[in-house]
Subunit: 348 residues, 2 copies
């Protein structure tokens, strides 16, 4: 197998690492969002992600997009992270403006370079298959100057993910994109999952930095008036001027240069507490236990006991979390609805 590096532009990885810490409340909080928790194994997701990105592109070519408040927590979780590896957003403006800024930085460092956009809080296994998919996506982005999404073969009729409808086969497991679909209802999800033509939108993207900038300029009216400030290097003004818009809505859903690379790795965005029974090892009764917990005559529970013990007797399919001095008890079936409960708790 030839070395793709030798035939391709340099590669940079950008890690989206914002987050308000509500999906894994009370273990996650605004100052300790999900990516700081060990949701996929013994190490925090951010540490797994930085390691994975460095193996892909090398230590000096990884950048972490986040807010001021998370720089110190990340540096504690990943001790060898250096100041210059952070791209600190002055204010949060969603993924569109953040990734355009990152693309601008990368294009300045190395014109024509490839940019791999990752999330800080996904579980991906094994690395070799991930690397293989990224390589194919990089070749597609280099050859056709497309914006390449990584699409995951649906493992189940998941209603919590967006889907990508594939079009023409472009070779090497890469297709054109017919359309993006929002999170479907259960019946639609079942149809998607069995069709063979729909892939989960992983939110992982590969493109040449300059192609993202071009397509953002072509399509993302939310950002257009702010571009001059970016050129002038006035970051504060850029973020103050730009309208918040996701890269999906602002660019990908509008561009005709979007492609999708079918992934051959296992992927989970660990979106809710109930996902832990996929991403962490369960005992013989299907219980996932993190911390000091005992379970007798219970199955299928997810228990997170961080600041003191938790004892379960005769209960099934519950999420029980003890963290941040709080105790949360809910069925796994309510996990996707946790934000509504937090809103209820916050209502005076």
């Amino acid at each position: 197998m030839s070395d793709p590096e030798s035939q391709q532009p340099g590669r940079y990885a950008v890690i989206l690492a914002g987050g308000i810490g509500s999906r894994f409340w009370p273990a996650s909080t605004p100052t300790r969002p999900k990516q700081l928790l060990p949701l996929g194994g013994e190490r925090p997701l951010i540490l797994e992600t930085v390691d994975r990105a460095r193996r892909l592109v090398g230590k000096d070519r990884v950048r972490i997009l986040t807010g001021h408040g998370l720089v110190d927590p990340f540096r504690r979780a990943v001790p060898d992270l250096e100041e210059h590896e952070f791209l600190v957003e002055p204010i949060a403006r969603s993924t569109g403006p953040a990734l355009v800024w990152a693309a601008h930085e990368i294009e300045s460092m190395e014109p024509g370079a490839l940019m791999i956009s990752l999330h800080s809080d996904h579980v991906i296994q094994p690395f070799e298959e991930f690397e293989n998919t990224i390589d194919r996506a990089c070749r597609a982005a280099t050859e056709r100057h497309g914006l390449v999404c990584l699409g995951i073969e649906p493992a189940r009729p998941e209603t919590g993910y967006g889907y990508i409808e594939t079009g023409e086969d472009l070779g090497e497991g890469v297709s054109s994109v017919l359309r993006f679909h929002e999170k479907p209802d259960a019946a639609t999800a079942a149809e998607y999952a069995s069709s063979g033509r729909f892939l989960w939108n992983s939110g992982i993207f590969v493109w040449r930095a300059r192609d993202l900038l071009e397509e953002a300029a072509n399509h993302a009216h939310e950002m257009k008036t702010a571009f001059p400030q970016l050129q002038l290097g006035d970051l504060e003004a850029y973020f103050r001027t730009v309208e918040p818009v996701s890269v999906d809505v602002g660019v990908l859903e509008r561009s005709d240069r979007v492609e999708v690379a079918r992934a051959s790795f296992a992927w989970d965005d660990v979106g809710t507490w109930s996902a832990l029974d996929r991403t962490r090892t369960a005992d013989e009764h299907g219980n996932v236990v993190v911390g000091d917990a005992s379970i007798l005559e219970g199955s299928g529970n997810v228990v997170w006991a961080e600041d003191g013990p938790v004892r379960l007797f005769g209960v099934d399919d519950l999420v029980v979390v003890r963290s941040s001095d709080e105790v949360l008890v809910m069925p796994k079936s309510k996990a996707a609805d946790l934000k509504r409960f937090i809103t209820y708790l916050e209502t005076p």
Copy 2:
């Protein structure tokens, strides 16, 4: 209504207040057994019980039978308790030897006096009906020198209580006792509850102290050899020599002088966490909450949040306890089985 006091011997109340604190674990512990918890209202059960006993017999005629370790906790819970109001057992030897000792003390203080034996951890309402039943039992004990149990009209086919089978009507709601029955299975309990002839054994007894001593001497071979030590006032030797036996097995089940007074008050021995939905006020969804807890879309739960908040979302009929740095989660249906779970937790 004539004053029964004027026609009767003096009355003393003895409160059985031992306990190892397993039924309400983790809120109850060996140094904080159930009677120190506010299971019937806002005040600890022991305080309610001492108040009730003092209203029956007067402040100086109440004695509390317990172990060394509980004297200080009780004095903190009932600030005006004085040293001489305690009968401190050197070692726990079940209720038989303890009540015989108490009877011996009372008979020494006032020969011929009546003794009312109460538990420290029952919920009783209202006081007036309780007093009425005690008055009738006192008259029966005075007139016929019987050992009078208080029997409760079954409110449901409870399998957690012992039952008393009533015999001949002796007037004033008092009957002879045909037989004591152990905790029944569900079918038998249903039969008992609908028969009209079976009453719950409340464990509350009224007798002249000298009658208990007589009947213990007649029937309780477990205690007989230790009686001389009691007469000599050598308490340590008495408790060392005596065999542990409950007053029910050692005396009541063997004596033919046992009677039962049908109670007209509401009674609960608060035997398990699930009893709290009977003894404490529930919200409109049947949730009983003690402490800092929030419940959304849940019903029939018992929540005890003592050292930090507890949040329930979408769960029903659970017991959730946060106390003694532990968190316990179980269905109410498992509450009667809690000892087995504690044994499991203690097994290395």
